[in-house]
Structures are given as structure tokens and as C-alpha cells.
Symmetry: C2
Subunit: 312 residues, 2 copies
Amino acid sequence: LMQREVMAAPQFWNVGDTIDHIRKQGEELPELFFDIYVVDPQNHPVGGVAVSQLLRSPRTMALLDIMEPVNVIAVDQDQEEVAYIFEKYHLISAPVIDVAGRLVGQITVDDIVNIIQEENREDILRLAGVADEDRGSSVPEIVRSRVPWLAINLATATMGASVIGWFEGTIQHIVALAVLMPIVSAIGGNAGTQALTVTVRALATRELNSSNAPRTFWRELVVGLANGLVLAPLIGIATALWFRDEDWRIGLVIAAAMMLNLLVAASIGVLTPLTLSKFKFDPAVSSAVFVTATTDFFGFLIFLGLATLVLM
Amino acid sequence: LMQREVMAAPQFWNVGDTIDHIRKQGEELPELFFDIYVVDPQNHPVGGVAVSQLLRSPRTMALLDIMEPVNVIAVDQDQEEVAYIFEKYHLISAPVIDVAGRLVGQITVDDIVNIIQEENREDILRLAGVADEDRGSSVPEIVRSRVPWLAINLATATMGASVIGWFEGTIQHIVALAVLMPIVSAIGGNAGTQALTVTVRALATRELNSSNAPRTFWRELVVGLANGLVLAPLIGIATALWFRDEDWRIGLVIAAAMMLNLLVAASIGVLTPLTLSKFKFDPAVSSAVFVTATTDFFGFLIFLGLATLVLM
């Protein structure tokens, strides 16, 4: 990522000195550079001058008088962190320093663009349970990247299956409940994934941190409540009509269950990535699988539990 | 996005003329610029000179001798397209031309970084069924952005519910089938989402196009087959043991159903975004909802259909 070649100028130089040096040393300098880093005698960067700024200043102007503060990058800094700094401060290039603070190279924005794309690619694929593959991956590589998530999904899906197992008696009496389970599962899973994706994204862009996390949590709960107020009556009435020959109260049960499950979905969708992030795990990895398994578990538990209480 | 100020130089100038002009006209030029665009008498850009290149060249050198070809941007070009060009050619800035090919401004990479982030944010949120919201959105705005997708999800989930309705008799006889439905649904949905996400991402980065689409389709089918060969025996044996007191052949049925459903999931996951993209729709929008609804529909149909044939 870092380029070793860099255009550095001692802090006592003026514009004319710098231009003459560039003309003379042309061959040894980076092929393209956008900023000249001004360094003190210990080679610590003390400021930067954009090349266009140098060009428009009189030859007698001291570099110290036209330089701007620079955002320095530590040589061991995480590339995601570096991308964030470039984005936030609209940088074109930045000096890289070693542990002693000495200038050792530079990073330019064109490489940052690739890193941003790479990080985004990883986030989007991880959310879907695709570990690590690209267009060049072979079929065995792709299978190795996806099967583990499907297997984890298989394991977590047995949670939902177990819940249904507890209510076998109820289902045998009212088969309509089995018919409605995909709807419970779909709405819970989708609402949870919405909350999850928004949270993962806000963590990635650092708009979400520990100070505004409680507010985010409450906001998602309120959104869950509002979603429920819109959707629960809709599904309740449709279900009551659908099963009016069996028992119209099934509509009541699914409406109440959906209301509660949307609150569960909102909570799990926010808390899962926040917790992973707190313990320094990638919040995108495995979140979706866990969220949908949990909304299935609680969705079926609430729906079949309420049905047993009300209808049996 | 475009900046009107731009540093243009007539094609008959040399390096010295250009530097003198910049020194004199400093105030009227953009605050920062990275490339000088060389223009012909009709103000058409004919090449570009990086500022660092200008600095290191002798004053007597003609611009025509040091300039490089430039990638021009049309003033009405889609911003996603512009970001793609910057990324592909590692550009720092690019000249913008009007319909007559005349230089009217420039675009710099720091703005492109923001566009790339914005496009990625949109893709990732749309895949999850979140239309348009950000950290500043109010609760009503968020609800408006998410409820439509949940409602569509509700509608598509009734497809899966209907299939189960067709097999009410079978389920009443073998309630174990209802217990296993979340597993059928989870694996199909997850495998479909994996294929979908990889395809949407490849379309966004233009690695996938109509010429390599058939190859991608076949590759996903082979991956689906391989995933099935790994997972179907696993789930088949586990299910046979789980329900050994009722009917061990349920294991056989779910293994065969999972095998077939993974092929359906792979096909739907690839074909949905490809079809949307072919008809100029955003391949990310609504794909996930459609894919999981379809894998549910076929998953339940195959599973309950096979169960009826084999076990009843």
C-alpha cells in the first residue's frame, strides 16, 4: 500500500529551492506526487504543500509559510483505518511515519479507492455468509467459502425446528398453524435483517459508536413497533378471512405474534452486531445467520405458544 | 460533483509559459489541482500533464511533448459510470466536456470516494430491503423506507404458505414434516442469498456481463450440486436418527429435497439479478425478497411433495 518514494523538503527551503531540486532530482522522485512533505532535521514531517500550491507561489516564499498541517499515517496502521482517514479529510496523499515519527513513505488516494471497494465487497459478502471468494475462485474454493455458513445455518435452523417439535400436538389439531409458519418466519427474518444491515453499515462508517448505541437501539424498537402497527392488522385480517371456516381467532393470534416478533427482530438486529463489534469481531460475519435463526426461534415460540393458549 | 474551475493551457505553450501563467493567475485557478489540461483552439482537451510532471520538466519543454492522453467525462455521464472510470484507470482528476467536446470543468478523486461509498451503501441496504434512509432519518421516514419491503415480503411469503396448504393432509399424518420445514426454508434461503449476493456484487463491479453470464450460471449450479453433496447426507442422517421412532425415511426425503432445492436456489440466485439488470432495473432492489420467497415455494413443494409420494 505504501510507496517508498516520496518528495520531502527540508523546512528551511523556499519555493525556488524546492522547484530546482525537483528539476534536478526528477529521476529519483516518485513518478507522480501530489504533496511535498516538509520535514525537520530529524526527518519528522511538519507540514505539507500541495504541488499546485507550490506552483502558484513566488520562488522566494518559504515553505514554512505556505505549508498546511498533514494527517500522518503510522506504518503499522490498519488499512481500514487509513481508508477512513482519507475519506474523512478528503486527502489525496498522506505521509507515512515509522515508530520514531520519521517519514518513510506515502500513501496515495488511488490505492485507497481499491481498499474501500475491497472492504465493501467483504462486508456485503460476509453478511450473506460468503467467506472469501472472488470471480477467479475455483468451484472447490467457492464451496469451501460457502458450505461452513450453510452448515452453521443448518445447526441454528434446528433451534426453530425444536420449537415446532414442542408444539406438535397443537399443529396436529390446527394444521393451519403449519401453513402460516413461513409468514411468521419471513417477516421476522426480513425485519431483523433490515435492522442488522443498517447497524452493520453504521458501524462500518463509524456513524454508530458506544455513545449513540442506546439511542439507536430505542429507535429501532420504535420502528419495530410502528412496523407492527402497520402490518399486524393487515396480516391479522387477511388470516382471519383465509381461515374463517376453521377459526377466525387464528388471525388474532398471528397479529399479536407478529407484533411481538417485530420487537424481537429489532432488538436482535441491533444487539447482534453491536455485541460482536464490542468484542472486536467483525460485525458482519455470521450476523445474518444468527439473526434469522433467533427471529425464527422466538417467532415460532410466540406464535405457537399463543395459539396453544388461545385456541386449544 | 463537477468543479467549474479548471487549469487549462493552450497546446502551443511550453512548461515555462504554464508556470508563469499559474503564478500570475493564481487567484482565479482552483484552490487545488492535480492535472493541467492541454486544449486545442476550440477548447477541446487533447491531453493532460500532472502538476508534478510539469514541475520536473525543463521550462523550454513543449506541453505537447510531455502530455499524456486523458479520460474525458461527459457532462451528463452517470455518476456510477464516472466512479467506475476513476477506479479502473486510477485517476486523480479528469476533464469534463460538454456535448460539443469543449472543456467545461473537472472532477477530482476525493469526490469520487464519497460516491463510491454512497453507491455501496445503497447496494447493501437495498439487498436487505431498506429503500432509502440514513442516520438522520426520522422514525416515520424509516418506517416508510422499510414497510413496503416487509409488505412485499408478506405477499410473497403467502406463496410458501399456499404450498403448505396443499399438503395439509400429509402434515396432519406426519407432523415431523412441519418440524423440518424451517430447515428446508433456511438452507434454501441462505444458499439462494449467497448466489444472489455474489451475482449482484459482480454486476456492480462489472466483472459479470452478458458474455460470461452463462458460465456464471453453470458454475453456480455446480456449486449448488457440490454444496448438496456435502450437506444432504449430513442432514439426511441426522433427520433419520431424530425421527427413527416415526419413520427413518423422512431422512431420505429431506436429503433428496435439499439436493434439489440447492439447485433451485443457485438458479434463482443468479437469474433474478441478471434478469433485473437486463431490463435496466437495479439488480439489488427486491432481489432478496424474491429469491427467498422462491426458494421457500420450491423447497416446500419438493419436500412435501416427495414426502407425500414416499411416506403416504
